[in-house]
Amino acid sequence: MRIAVQSAAFDAGAELNAFSEGHSDVGAVVSFSGLVRADGGLSRLEIEHYPGMTERAITKIAEEAQGRWSLGDVLVIHRHGPLEPGEAIMMVATAAPHRKDAFEAAEFLMDYLKSRAPFWKKELGPDGSDWVAAKDEDEAALTRW
């Protein structure tokens, strides 16, 4: 399990390859990357987080996923600080013997990271800046698990 909370940019493809190469006993690798959208005149995204609690919350979520599904490994990378359009905000990857486990665990990780890991997004655009509001559908997504 690798969990990284960092301000530095990361190379999602290189991370995916490193993650896959380390687990040749599994058959299925699923990755999710969240990107800063370049539409709507957004000029920058700023992500605030709660140092200390962030790593703790993500670790708890990742351990929960490992308990629920048969997984070879879990990767979570999440950035904070300023991000430019097109950049990757975060990624998760799961490795498993079976694709269903890899898919479900990745979706679970995303649903929980969205609403239970202490990150807050602020969008900076032509009309100033504003905090991104939490979506009801993100909270509702948790009821699936």
């Binding site: 969240g34 992500i47 605030e48 987080h49 709660y50 200390g52 609690m53 703790r56 919350a57 999440h78 905000i89 975060m90 995303m110 990271l113 969205k114 609403s115 239970r116 890991a117 202490p118 990150f119 807050w120 997004k121 602020k122 905090w131 991104v132 509001a133 939490a134 993100d138 909270e139």
Partner: protein, 81 residues
């Protein structure tokens, strides 16, 4: 006790943390004490349904007891991912 604020809670209160001496038994009682301090605190805590709280870096409820807690954090619903 350290009280931390994040995102727009931090912005409304105008600072990222307070060090508080309190006899409050629950989070809700602490919130009442903070609201009584100044208008900016009252503005930040006006709608508790728009806030979340963590006690020693674990999510908690507003009726949770504060006994033994060293760090309380208030913030809006998370929007990571």
């Amino acid at each position: 006790m350290d009280v931390l604020y994040f995102a727009w809670v931090r912005e409304r209160i105008g600072q990222p943390r307070d060090v508080v001496e309190t006899q409050a038994a629950t989070v809700a009682e602490l919130v009442e004490e903070l609201k009584a301090r100044e208008e900016r605190y009252e503005a930040a805590f006006a709608d508790l349904s728009a806030l979340r709280v963590a006690l020693d870096q674990e999510l908690a409820d507003f009726d949770a007891p504060l006994a033994g807690v060293r760090e309380v954090a208030f913030f809006p619903p998370m929007t990571g991912g």
